[in-house]
């Protein structure tokens, strides 16, 4: 599983990312994606930098970040775990899986476990609708996730955290 990163990022690297992409027409989403891929989230401190480099207002940049569910203004845990809440997954037990996940992790959506390993988020469809319930962990998608399977996946998330020290 890919680890999300957020320590040790440098504003100079953020500027370099912006320089590389800002020539594209309508470049703001590609720029924000690249910065989030680099840092793991979009810290408030990058907003004025993006705005200045791209000749936008801070309000415009903030407005775009806050509009899209994928863009995050806060640090996440080492793994982002998304549980599909959409109808196809509901029909095969996603509501129960959501309850189970919140109860066993001890957190609600948009929260991070106290050990810092997992941030739980809702997602509305991963396009894996014939083999639900579906869960995405970072960039990997899992199908037919039973409660037991979910627990196994979460154990893996905790293990990688321990390995990483």
């Amino acid at each position: 599983m890919k680890m999300t990163k957020h320590s040790d990022w440098r504003m100079d690297d953020v500027r370099a990312i912006i320089q590389e992409l800002k020539h594209k027409p309508g470049a703001l989403l590609p720029v924000l994606h690249a910065i989030q891929d680099y840092i793991g989230y979009l810290p408030d401190s990058i907003v004025p930098v993006v705005a200045k480099e791209m000749l936008l207002t801070r309000a415009e940049v903030h407005g775009v970040i806050s509009f899209y569910h994928h863009f995050r203004s806060h640090k996440t845990g080492r793994h982002v775990v998304e549980i599909c809440r959409a109808e196809a997954c509901q029909s095969v037990g996603a509501r129960a899986l959501e309850k189970h996940a919140k109860a066993t992790l001890g957190i609600d959506f948009e929260q991070t476990t106290s050990c810092g390993s997992v941030t739980l988020e809702p997602v509305y469809c991963l396009g894996n609708c014939a083999t639900g319930p579906s869960v995405r962990i970072d960039d990997s998608i899992y199908g037919r996730v039973s409660e037991d399977r979910f627990d196994e996946l979460m154990a893996d998330c905790r293990d990688t955290m321990q390995e990483a020290g």
Binding site: P30, Y124, G127, C129, T131, I141, G143
Partner: protein, 515 residues
């Protein structure tokens, strides 16, 4: 001789362990000193059989599935790589599996057969024949061929594709765009994803032809961020198309230019609405625009723009290869060609079923789908995504046809069929329809932004038994307001599932289930 073994690499196969199976097969073959080549093909779309691996033999491809980790060494012991059919997971010749054999695959003809990122494979299976023909036609002739095909927008709105293209062709201006709507957000749909993961060159070819037709030299694929594998495969295919002269300044030496780029969305369902999508591509919040002006006239960056769904554009190579009339021979009434139906949710045999329009819904759910996965009775089916009505049993004989569904106050949409067994609480489903709209409304118009929040509240009151008759009346009124007063289909159709529950499952809405 090298034996070729196919292990799919689409999201569903991988979500069920295909990557691990591929690794184990490779390792097992190496330890046994066998000469095999693993091809990561697309999926056939028979998802209950995934991971479905195939072995190439002189008789055809023999399938095994679903293959688990623990099957791998047994498969080798049974010499599956020689095409031996003794392992219990053996499915025989894949092409003879009835679910697949009974289909009419025009758009998905190559899905699961080819290596999605191999241009050579694509060309060996009729790829780029449509473009070769198109390069010898005028823009108007291409548009005429699309009109003849009767193709209508497969994203859900079902607007005639040829007429949209004609509008952009006729619009004045040097700069025009082709935008592919790959923001497939409807629950129960995955056909766009399959095009991009299993046959990406077909989409590239379709968009290139669209560019030639309307004189647009730049295309964008607006892809949802929930599809990381599609993003990767699509980009690999585009790079290969550039290297081989199928994209860029001089397509196949014709002097014509077409550039193409994939842009990632960021988790906003509303960006599947075409004007919201355009704002998002321009780097803004994905707010819906008022129409007119139509995007065909004032579209991306204010220029004339074709905005088509993945499946519409993916149908174009077939149409330009075989002719519009060949495509129009399929279908019924004003619904011409084939529809890729996606069987999803609580279904035993879920997957992709591409057939000519005109098949009854219950034949899809039962003959193909095999009923529910749970084995319990089927109770309701939501067709066309989160904005589509829930159909009770009395409507299951409806034919797959745009007009047939409209007559039932339902929508075919993007062809997603989500099945529910008798444990579903329809009142909860109605509430979710409103709740989903509160998350995903762009916020521009009041009926959608406020109406959905009020909708959740009123449904909660009804379910709590509070002033039921008055609140029921209020909910009816609210639904009418949203349908009539919203700027786009998000607010305008959110009431459809709610109204269908009010009409067909009123008792479940009136009484919240006690747990």
């Amino acid at each position: 001789m090298t034996t070729r073994i196919f292990v799919p690499r689409d999201t569903t196969a991988i979500s069920l362990g295909a990557d691990l199976i591929a690794t184990l097969i490779q390792a097992e073959a190496a330890s046994r000193g066998l000469d095999i080549e693993i091809v990561r093909n697309g999926t056939r779309g028979l998802f209950w059989l995934e991971p479905l691996i195939e072995v190439e033999t002189s008789e055809g491809r023999i399938g095994f599935g679903p293959v688990t980790e623990s099957d791998v060494s047994a498969l080798f012991n049974e010499h599956f790589y020689h095409g031996n059919q003794t392992h219990p997971s053996c499915l025989g010749l894949v092409e003879e599996i009835p679910y697949l054999k009974k289909q009419q695959r025009l758009t998905f003809a190559r899905s699961g057969i080819t290596d999605p990122v191999s241009l050579a494979d694509y060309k060996a299976h009729d790829g780029y024949k449509g473009l070769e023909n198109a390069l010898n036609l005028s823009g108007q002739q291409i548009v005429d061929e699309v009109k003849t095909s009767g193709l209508r927008g497969r994203g859900g709105a079902a607007f005639p594709t040829g007429i949209k293209w004609q509008t952009v062709l006729d619009a004045s201006g040097e700069q025009k765009y082709i935008v592919c709507n790959a923001d497939e957000g409807d629950s129960g749909t995955f056909a766009d994803r399959l095009v991009m993961e299993c046959d990406p060159f077909m989409l590239i070819e379709g968009m290139t032809i669209a560019g030639l037709a309307v004189n647009a030299n730049q295309g964008y694929i607006y892809l949802r961020s929930e599809y990381p594998i599609a993003f990767d495969i699509m980009n690999q295919a585009i790079a290969s198309a550039y290297e081989n002269g199928y994209l860029g300044k001089d397509i196949l030496g014709s002097g014509r230019q077409f550039d193409l780029e994939v842009r990632l969305g960021a988790g906003a369902y509303i960006c599947g609405e075409e004007t919201s999508l355009l704002d998002s591509l321009e780097g803004k919040r994905g707010l819906v625009r008022a129409k007119p002006p139509l995007p065909a006239i004032v579209g991306l960056f204010g220029k004339p723009t074709v905005v088509n769904n993945v499946l519409s554009l993916a149908a174009i190579p077939y149409i330009l290869h075989h002719g519009g009339e060949a495509y129009a021979e399929y279908g019924i009434g004003r619904s011409r060609g084939t529809m890729p139906i996606q069987l999803a949710g609580n279904v035993k045999y879920g997957g992709l079923v591409e057939l000519a329009f005109g098949i009854p819904l219950n034949e899809l759910m039962n003959d193909f789908g095999g009923g529910t996965r749970s084995g319990r009775p089927l109770k309701a089916v939501q067709v066309g995504g989160p904005l589509g009505a829930y159909l009770p049993e009395s409507q299951w004989d409806t034919l797959i046809d745009y007009e047939g569904f409209s007559a039932e106050k339902a929508v075919l949409g993007h062809g997603g069929v989500v099945m529910f067994d008798d444990t579903v609480d329809m009142g909860e489903q109605a509430r979710f329809a409103m709740e989903f709209c509160t998350f995903e409304s762009c916020g521009k118009c009041t009926p959608c932004r406020i109406g959905s929040t009020r909708g959740v509240e009123v449904i909660d009151r009804i379910r709590a038994g509070e002033n039921q008759d008055k609140n029921w009346e209020l909910l009816e009124d609210l639904c009418d307001t949203m349908v009539d007063g919203s700027l786009c289909a998000m607010g305008g159709m959110t009431p459809f599932p709610v109204q269908s529950v009010m009409k067909f499952f009123p008792d479940e809405l009136r009484s919240a289930r006690q747990e």
